[in-house]
């Protein structure tokens, strides 16, 4: 009896011991900053002086801040345009790849190279590609008789340009995840449907899509969370220009915190961002029961 008790006791101690480095790290670098940032959002703080409590003023200023609302709009534009297109393309690609194809390793490597390259490199390369006079993109368009715009300098085309690059960069990653999901679909479902006379489109619509809906949900949720925090892409392609047309929330936040040293204001912004991301995730989760098929 006694031995049994002490075994569980030791296991308990060892358990906590094993997770202690991570826990310490989490408390010091995540939990405490998390709590401090709540406080900071109610202060005016420039780092050189001590924080000064100002109540809800930061939030009041945010509501009146046109740049903030613009950045919110740009972020939504980025997320809600890029994600559907990107995921649709990835799924299509995954369906194509989900066959016994020779050279699959080559293809996988090729599609992944953009994923593992840093945004700095990707940004530079694509800025050169988007060059209005000498860039490849406009040259290719000219082959079709089209005159390409001055992509990254145009208020209308800068954001679409970045969205395209973002889709390009993440395609391989999303495709791999979809592929893993596709490979989990039992073959007999397709065979049974063939006996019932289903064609390929019907198979896709009634078998593939439902069976892959958990994966789709996972990707949608993580993509939304990621897209709303986009920074590297903007910094390395346009720095928020031209005229703030590509200014996203985190970029505006970064400018305020480390450029203008308005850290309290930025902290308030960060919290609004958190609430938005949290709410969107919750909404997606609730809606999921309507369209996600759990076998």
């Amino acid at each position: 009896m006694n031995k049994k008790k002490s075994l569980a006791y030791y296991e308990s101690i060892e358990g906590w011991l094993f997770i202690s480095p991570t826990l310490v790290g989490a408390i010091i670098f995540l939990l405490i900053p998390f709590l401090v940032s709540i406080y900071l959002s109610f202060t005016e703080y420039s780092l050189i002086e001590l924080p000064r409590f100002i109540g809800f003023q930061n939030f009041q200023r945010l509501i009146r801040d046109i740049s903030f609302w613009k950045s919110l709009l740009s972020t939504c534009y980025f997320a809600f345009t890029g994600i559907p297109v990107g995921l649709a393309l990835s799924l299509a690609l995954a369906v194509v790849m989900n066959r016994p194809i020779r050279g699959i390793t080559f293809f996988r490597t090729a599609y992944f190279i953009p994923v593992v390259t840093s945004w700095v490199a990707v940004g530079l390369i694509w800025r050169w590609l988007y060059n209005p006079e000498y860039g490849l993109i406009n040259w290719i368009l000219s082959l079709f008789g089209l005159k390409g715009p001055d992509w990254l300098v145009s208020k209308t085309w800068a954001m679409p340009a970045i969205i395209i690059v973002n889709i390009w960069k993440n395609l391989g990653f999303n495709t791999m995840i979809f592929l893993a999901g596709l490979q989990g679909i039992p073959e007999d479902l397709y065979e049974a449907s063939k006996l019932d006379g289903a064609n390929q489109w019907q198979q896709f619509h009634y078998i593939t899509l439902p069976m892959i809906s958990p994966t789709t949900l996972f990707l949608t949720i993580t993509s939304v969370i990621g897209s709303f925090q986009v920074f590297d892409a903007i910094y390395n392609m346009t720095r928020g220009g031209p005229e703030e047309s590509t200014m996203v929330i985190v970029y505006y936040l970064w400018e305020n915190a480390f450029g203008f040293l308005r850290m309290g204001y930025a902290a308030a912004m960060a919290w609004i961002l958190f609430l938005i991301v949290f709410t969107l995730t919750l909404i997606q989760w609730r809606l999921s029961s309507k369209w996600v098929f759990l076998p």
Binding site: P33, T105, T109, N131
Partner: protein, 281 residues
């Protein structure tokens, strides 16, 4: 439909799919090839119209210039130092935690694990400002410490990965060792860790690459040139050479080749790590 027509249809489909796949692969790789091509051109040739794919003549002078203007070797050393330190530390910290969450029983285990997972949804922007404050008061700004210590200790994705992996190891192994009188630490070190090699391999590859390519944190915490990592150094300095595309491309190619080579060699582990966590939607 006759057997012959069905076969023809299938073959055509397969050919079509190969074409599509290849087109996609070209789109993925072409920008890099174009950057390479530009980097080997002599001054003026990069503005040739229509664009030339094969540089004629080929020159390496752009690389020479890029390497003299920027302390690339310093950037490389910094990136390597940070990525290696973080990855090795994470090896131990995350596998310990992952194992504990998978196999050990202690009160509050699941709550703590779920909270850890929940932090993945927390925007970095929320904590970055107080983190900066902390680093400022510690005097760690413009050192590598903010880039090494926090990520080494806390790596939610890695813990999740290792836990998934340890869950697949049968309990009997551990029970047998317990009966033989081993302590948990002995079990972990002598039995579990060696068994976890595939999971660890994935952890190493993913952690190294993510740390290497990290941009926003170095941007915030590092200010002096000699301390910069490759992405940061490339980005911050190359913005000075606005339109000198040949040099820009040579710097880019030089910065990208290490990671591309590393990935091509180790891709098996990277892909497996993603598949392991991705399906469990």
């Amino acid at each position: 439909m006759g057997f012959y027509y069905k076969n023809l249809f299938k073959t055509t489909q397969t050919i079509l799919f190969y074409l599509l796949l290849s087109l996609g692969a070209i789109i993925m790789l072409a920008p890099f090839l174009w950057a390479l091509s530009t980097s080997l051109k002599i001054p003026g040739k990069e503005f040739a119209y229509p664009p030339e794919w094969i540089p004629n003549p080929v020159t390496f002078s752009n690389y020479k210039e890029a390497f003299t203007i920027l302390p690339f070797s310093k950037f490389f050393i910094n990136s390597t130092k940070i990525s290696v330190t973080v990855t090795i530390t994470r090896l131990f910290v995350t596998s310990l935690a992952g194992y504990a969450f998978a196999k050990l029983r202690f009160r509050g285990r699941d709550i703590v694990f779920l909270s850890l997972l929940g932090t993945m949804m927390l925007p970095n922007a929320v904590v970055i400002i107080p983190q900066y404050m902390l680093m400022y008061y510690l005097g760690w700004i413009d050192t590598h410490l903010p880039l090494i210590i926090p990520p080494s200790l806390f790596f939610a994705y890695g813990i999740f990965l290792m836990r998934q992996f340890f869950l697949t190891i049968p309990d009997e192994l551990r029970d047998a060792a317990r009966i033989d009188g081993c302590t948990e630490i002995q079990i972990f070190w002598h039995i579990m860790l060696p068994l976890a090699k595939p999971g660890l391999a994935t952890l190493i590859v993913i952690s190294f690459m993510w740390t290497w390519n990290s941009f926003m944190d170095p941007l915030i915490f590092i200010h002096s040139t000699e301390k910069m990592t490759i992405p940061l150094g490339l980005g911050v300095f190359m913005s000075q050479y606005g339109t000198e595309w040949r040099r820009l491309m040579s710097g880019t190619v030089a910065s990208t080749i290490p990671i591309i080579i590393l990935y091509s060699v180790l891709q098996k582990y990277y892909v497996r790590g993603i598949a392991l966590t991705g399906i469990k939607g």
